[in-house]
């Protein structure tokens, strides 16, 4: 009997603790902090969501630090706010569906993300910072010059990307067999293994990959989809940060910082 009542007491304590915790949860929304007139989810940090790896925009270097085009630009924003950038690696679905931003997981998303109508419905995009095209990567010497050459063949795409959506549009018409991969790395590995004949992704991503594996792969087709990348913030949730990103971008384009970053990661100057 003694044990019995002890268990009950413990149960009571747990229940009360749960009550206290659930009451405490509600406070988070009001606990936002400010830096330079901009709301941030964490004090002294510009928290940025991305999905790794996506070189040259976001990837880890040998020491495990996240580097890339996006990182450098967001660093400019963070510096302007007088805070540090903190990068969170999270599945791309959460980023593009706006849920990561809605849930207050991060202040901004910077993930080599194309601005699309659907995405604009769920988050606010800053001005475009990069013009991207989709490209077809094959092993050197393979005879695939266009989607027409790939009828009935397996083509790799990355889940939740615009390249996947582009290929999906032609799946029926051209008789393609699309294989969806979770990560860029898995898509690349499958192409290298010969599990797929070709792979579609953003051109700068393939350029970077070819640079790392000289002679093994080539881009045989480019699909100009008029895509532009944009950074985003929570829908209607942070106009101050949105303005700040736009200001920093405009300033960087004016004073040449943008060109320097572009050349550093893409390997050439941006087209005027």
């Amino acid at each position: 009997m003694k044990v019995h009542s002890a268990v009950r007491k413990a149960g009571l304590v747990v229940a009360i603790a749960a009550l206290a915790v659930s009451a405490g949860c509600a406070k988070k929304e009001q606990g936002e902090v400010q830096a330079g007139g901009v709301k941030l989810v964490e004090k002294g940090k510009l928290t940025v969501c991305t999905h790794l790896p996506y070189a040259p925009f976001q990837s880890k270097d040998a020491s495990g630090r996240v580097i890339g085009f996006d990182v450098d630009i967001m660093d400019l924003v963070a510096k302007d706010l007088g805070v540090e950038q903190k990068i969170i690696d999270t599945p791309f679905e959460g980023i593009k569906s706006g849920q990561d931003l809605n849930a207050g997981k991060c202040d901004a998303a910077a993930a080599g993300m194309t601005i699309t109508e659907e995405r604009q419905k769920v988050m606010d995009f800053a001005a475009p910072y990069f013009d991207a095209t989709q490209a077809l990567l094959v092993k050197t010497g393979k005879p695939y010059k266009s989607l027409d050459d790939l009828k009935g063949k397996k083509i790799g795409v990355q889940a939740a990307t615009t390249g996947r959506d582009y290929a999906k549009k032609y799946e029926q018409e051209k008789g393609l067999q699309l294989v969806e991969f979770e990560d860029l790395a898995a898509e690349q590995q499958a192409l290298a293994n010969g599990q797929i004949e070709a792979a579609i992704n953003d051109l700068p991503v393939w350029s970077e990959y070819i640079k790392e594996h000289p002679g093994g792969f080539e881009v045989t087709a480019e699909f100009d989809t008029g895509e532009q990348y944009g950074f985003s913030v929570k829908k209607g949730g942070n106009p101050e940060l949105l303005k700040k990103i736009n200001d920093v971008l405009a300033k960087a384009k004016q004073d040449g910082t943008y060109d320097t970053i572009y050349e550093k990661w893409i390997g050439k100057k941006p087209n005027a």
Binding site: A15, S97, A160, D165, Q195
Partner: protein, 264 residues
Amino acid sequence: MKLRRRQRERLSLWLQYLAFVAVIAVVLLAADWGRLREAFFRVDIIESMFPTIITVALRNTILYTLGAFAFGLVFGTILALMRLSRVAPYRWVATAYIELFRGLPALLVLFLVGYGIPIAFPEREIPGGVFGSISIGLGLTAAAYMAETIRAGIQAVPKGQMEAARTLGMSHFTAMRTIVIPQAFRIVIPPLTNELILLTKDSSLAYVLGVTAQTIEVTKFGRDTLNDRVNATPLLVAGLTYLIITLPLSQVVRRLELRYAKAR
């Protein structure tokens, strides 16, 4: 005021009920139901997911699960027999295998099967494509768990059974195959069914292999629809779809356990 022990106990019990109800009420009241419905229960999206989620996605989930289960069962039985073998190296190999594969995440094993084997043997491929890879990938891990379950089952069969069979002139192998293992399996059916339920959910890991529209399973289908519609409703639908498999299975386990308890 001094309460008697009985009263004290009753008071404490009521306080617990009260706290429990209060927690639920706070959570329910604090949640923003309008936003939740908008994010997780859009009827038009639910409609758009049928019938593909059943005819393709659920079908594949079931196929992957059964494939992995069959592979795990056969391999797990072999491992269990090795564990109980009188030949020491068999025991060592089986023990090492079980310890290793119980400790590795299924995701990692699946990745190694899906990408490691093609790298190691560039000229060959696993038969059956995604189905073959996932049957082996998840089956390898499942075998380690099942081996321990089956071993326990074999050991639970009274020694007298084997001794009697040997006395009647059966070889060790024949006695094992026709007398002991059938009885052992009756004992381990409930835990093995649990393993089947776990595998059902693990089959969602198929996404690491890269799947096509024909080889897609329930979770990936839900995530893809989420991507297309930029709404979380498909995740809820996909989650509930698993219950179509797992709820009847749980029921089966409960029945079997009851029957087994009676038989004893």
